[in-house]
């Protein structure tokens, strides 16, 4: 069995937000206007938070990139009444826009704030891609028929890239990886299979000290952080 996971090295992260931008570009997420930003309505599938502890001059700042944690025991899947959000066999938590009724219960239940509500129909400009890549003929059945308002969306670990990579026989995590991993200039992010002992993810997790966010909730997140 494969279980996709991501390891983020906080020692390497510089907080440049390249992952956020790469995610927006890859998944065709609308860039919010300043007004939407002020009203906290803009959509981020990946965010980078800065957490400070202490007071000047004894202060420490953590920069923590937060994609969806793709929990092993996801609270969002438990609460979804219509099975619109579900766990794939490879551990990716998916959101099916066709089934989603927009009740927002998953947004309330998610302890990581990873979920966003699509509040309005996105305007389509000539330079906007209307569908995430790759093209429909190549990717086959796609759970997102069209970006539509009134549904909840979230990070998918760029599952379309992974699926395509497996089809092409490429090595996932080395040749093919999610957009945020690819874009990270300091190579803070690593993507791979938790159940494959030879993967980079397993090597890092066995050699470094790691933690997961909000472990007290027992969600068993599959995004691991290496400490500074």
């Amino acid at each position: 069995m494969t279980r996709w996971a991501m390891v983020i090295d906080l020692d390497k992260c510089t907080g440049c937000q390249a992952c956020t931008i790469a995610c927006k570009v890859e998944n065709n997420i609308p860039h919010g206007s300043p007004e939407e930003q002020r009203k906290q309505r803009d959509i981020y599938w990946n965010k980078v938070i800065a957490v400070t502890n202490g007071k000047y001059p004894h202060i420490q700042t953590f920069l923590i990139p937060m994609p969806c944690m793709h929990c092993e025991k996801p609270p969002c899947v438990t609460v979804c009444p219509v099975k619109a959000t579900y766990r794939r066999k490879d551990g990716i938590i998916m959101q099916d826009f066709r089934k989603c009724i927009g009740c927002k219960y998953c947004m309330v239940a998610c302890p990581y704030g990873a979920r966003n509500f699509n509040n309005k129909e996105q305007e389509i400009k000539p330079y906007h891609r209307q569908d995430p890549p790759p093209e429909r003929e190549v990717r086959g059945k796609w759970p997102f028929p069209r970006r539509t308002h009134g549904v909840v969306e979230k990070c998918t670990f760029c599952f379309h890239r992974i699926d395509q990579g497996i089809k092409d026989g490429k090595k996932i995590g080395v040749e093919v990886m999610p957009a945020c991993v690819e874009a990270c200039p300091s190579e803070a992010r690593t993507f791979g299979d938790l159940d494959d002992p030879k993967s980079d993810v397993c090597r890092l997790l066995s050699s470094r000290v790691w933690f997961r966010l909000r472990e007290e909730l027992e969600t068993q997140a599959k995004v691991y952080y290496l400490t500074k």
Binding site: I43, V51, F62, I64, K99, I101, A109, G113, N116, L213
Partner: protein, 394 residues
Amino acid sequence: MKLIYTPVEFRSRNYIILLIILACLSIIGFIFFVMSYIEGHHVFGISNRVPWGMSIVITIFLIGLSAGSLIISSLTYVFGKEEYRLISRIAVFLAIVLIFGAMVGISLDLGRPEKMWRLFMFFILNNMRSMFALNGILYGGYFVISFFYLGSIFAERAGWTKKIGILAMIWAALVHMGTGAIFGFIEARPIFFSPIKPFEFLVAAMASGLGLLIIVVVSAFHFASRPFKKEPLFSLGKLLLGFTITLFVFVSIDKLTHLYSPYREPTLWLLTGPFTWLFWIFQVGCGYFLPILLLSHPRTRNTISGLMIASFSVVIGIFFERFNLVIPGTAHPMPFYPGKIEGMWGLTGSYTLTFIELLMCLGIFSMMGLFFILGLRYLELLPFIEKRKNTEDK
């Protein structure tokens, strides 16, 4: 004393005017609902930080009123307390009207209301571990049961009424406890997460349902110019006092447990932050203290005006109890990592009621008002007491 139920013959022009105003407001609400459906939910005050807004507040408030009202009706039909018979028919009818309003409220909140049927595909397309899906069973069953209940009451089949009444009472309690479980089982939100929530919701339902029932019955008798006995209402006032005190105890236990645990920031923020006024004045003052004072003071507890003010303040207080649960419960930023989260991700969520949302909520209330006054006009809901000698009022 024999009660004869007759439709109220509203002949005055004011009735027609009220009917037209309510119908217009409902239509305006519906137009704005269609607009929000086409435009998307950015016309509401909700955001990614506060996903549930006024329509959910109103929905759980109405479900509570409905369940409470149905439970109160069982005083007559299940427990055989004849003195409350004059309010019981109206209570069941009110429960149906209110649950209908609540269902409309849920569909206003859904991002894709056209897919609402998916909520009711039990065990086929639904994830039955979800509290929402379980509540779908409860709400659907509640609708059916209360219709049968009202039918058997109209048919005056006492045996059937008692059997269905027992089922309806239990089911109504389950409905509102299930609604409480929607919030109480969410561990990620500390203000929601509490095992006591279903019971708190049940007591709140009975208190607010009884409060609304007293208001509705007194005003219906008043506007229909029919005499009524006051004593049953005063004993219902005592019941209301009991419910309010129980509710106050439940809410205090809930807040105190949250304050006792080391992670107490969200509840402290609720009690002292921007929701201070809403919490202390409207929820605690209006919902608990004023009615407890009015219903226990010997000078006000046996007057209709004291009872009415107490009922009003209970209903308003419980509305703000719902508001203070739904909005601050999600607005407080989650502790992703120990420490102070800087920038926009550490801000508390904001919620402002928009004009469109306000009109939509007004639309729900006017639609229910419309159904209710039409029901009074065409159904045999309000009793007429034959022996005028026994009544002191009017």
